[in-house]
């Protein structure tokens, strides 16, 4: 599971109001190279929850993203390459996603998060 996907996931348990972002428990991270596409990254930038991305990225072992951003950074290839790496090349293979409100764990196996709810959570 890439961080671009993690950036879209929140806890769907009934009654939870602060379900984003899901905390990450890491057991295995894999890096897979992907072609650099700066236009895509520039388009995505406005839609990303930045703090969630930097936190998640650090948890997966990549701490190079700046904490604060400004539009000029989108002109910088160096910045875009860091964004590229964090968003698309880091994969959480094994571990769990944790609801920040309830602590409930959604296991991640082979990169696939299991977000099926139990009957009492629906």
């Amino acid at each position: 599971m890439r961080l671009i996907t993690h950036n879209m996931l929140s806890s769907n348990i009934k009654g939870v109001t602060n379900g984003f972002p899901l905390r990450i428990q890491v057991e295995k991270v894999v890096e897979k190279e992907v072609d650099f596409n700066p236009d895509f990254l520039r388009n995505m930038f406005a839609k990303i929850e930045w703090k969630a991305l930097t936190e998640a990225s650090k948890t997966l072992g990549y701490a190079d993203l700046p904490e604060e951003t400004e539009p000029l950074m989108l002109e910088s290839e160096e910045f875009l390459r860091k964004l590229h790496h964090a968003l698309l090349e880091l994969h959480l293979e094994e571990g769990a996603l944790v609801c920040p409100e309830t602590g409930r764990k959604f296991p991640v196996n082979k990169g696939i998060p299991n977000m099926l709810l139990h009957e009492d959570e629906v």
């Binding site: 996907t5 996931l9 992907v34 696939i112 099926l116 709810l117």
Partner: protein
């Protein structure tokens, strides 16, 4: 098999370029459901329909290449993987059945496509408001087992997609889908791209015939633009 309908909105899909045939061939080699579950209406999408659906979405509308594509109810991953083969930037498959996700995962591995999968129920899943997903492609349940399932999927897809939703629905539901999508589900447009015939082999014991031919519409919906929502 693709048959032409009398539909005035008919779009020629059968431009048999090599790329479509290659795509169809790759998709045709994928593993499918081993013990399809009736209550989930599990049927393979079929490489013929899948290749043409994605090829059209890509070449006629620019909705695939370099985009973020979601496959709702991805099953064995056929539609999502087709998007990946057509160079979508990122593809996510959403599926409720764990056994099926295993198959989809192995298919992605086989094709060397990096597709993310999420095991979840679309109906209670929380999607963010930021419209990271550009295009939704899906072959949703027809609603024969769980009434209204087809519309449920469409409702979610139209909330989530920023550019377009491609979906397959029984031709018998055409008027209903047209009305509902525009009046209730927030589509700014709804177009039948073409009518297809879906060959369903005798998957379930209760099917009397060996093969059942179902007329299916391939739809393209455009959600209202994000500022209107």
């Amino acid at each position: 098999m693709v048959k032409r309908g009398n539909n005035p909105l008919f779009l020629q899909l059968a431009v048999l370029k090599d790329e479509v045939k290659q795509l169809e061939s790759l998709l045709g080699s994928l593993r499918q459901f081993e013990s399809p579950k009736i209550e989930l209406e599990q049927y393979p999408t079929g490489s013929h329909i899948a290749s043409r659906l994605l090829y059209t979405a890509d070449t006629s509308f620019g909705d695939v290449r370099d985009k973020v594509v979601a496959d709702f109810g991805c099953g064995c991953g056929t539609l999502g993987l087709a998007a990946g083969l057509l160079r979508a930037q990122h593809v996510i498959g959403y599926e409720v059945d764990a056994e099926t996700v295993e198959i989809a995962f192995s298919n992605a591995d086989e094709l060397e496509i990096d597709m993310d999968f999420i095991l979840c129920n679309i109906k209670n899943f929380r999607f963010p408001d930021n419209h990271v997903i550009d295009t939704v492609v899906m072959n949703p349940p027809f609603g024969t087992r769980n009434k209204g399932a087809d519309v449920d999927f469409l409702r979610v897809a139209l909330k989530v997609a920023s550019k377009a939703v491609y979906s397959l629905h029984k031709t018998t539901t055409r008027d209903h889908i047209q009305r509902t999508s525009i009046r209730e589900l927030g589509a700014s447009s709804a177009e039948v791209l073409c009518e297809l015939r879906f060959d369903l082999p005798q998957l379930y014991k209760f099917h009397k015939k060996k093969k059942v031919d179902v007329a299916v519409d391939l739809w393209r919906f455009v959600p209202k633009s994000t500022c209107e929502r």
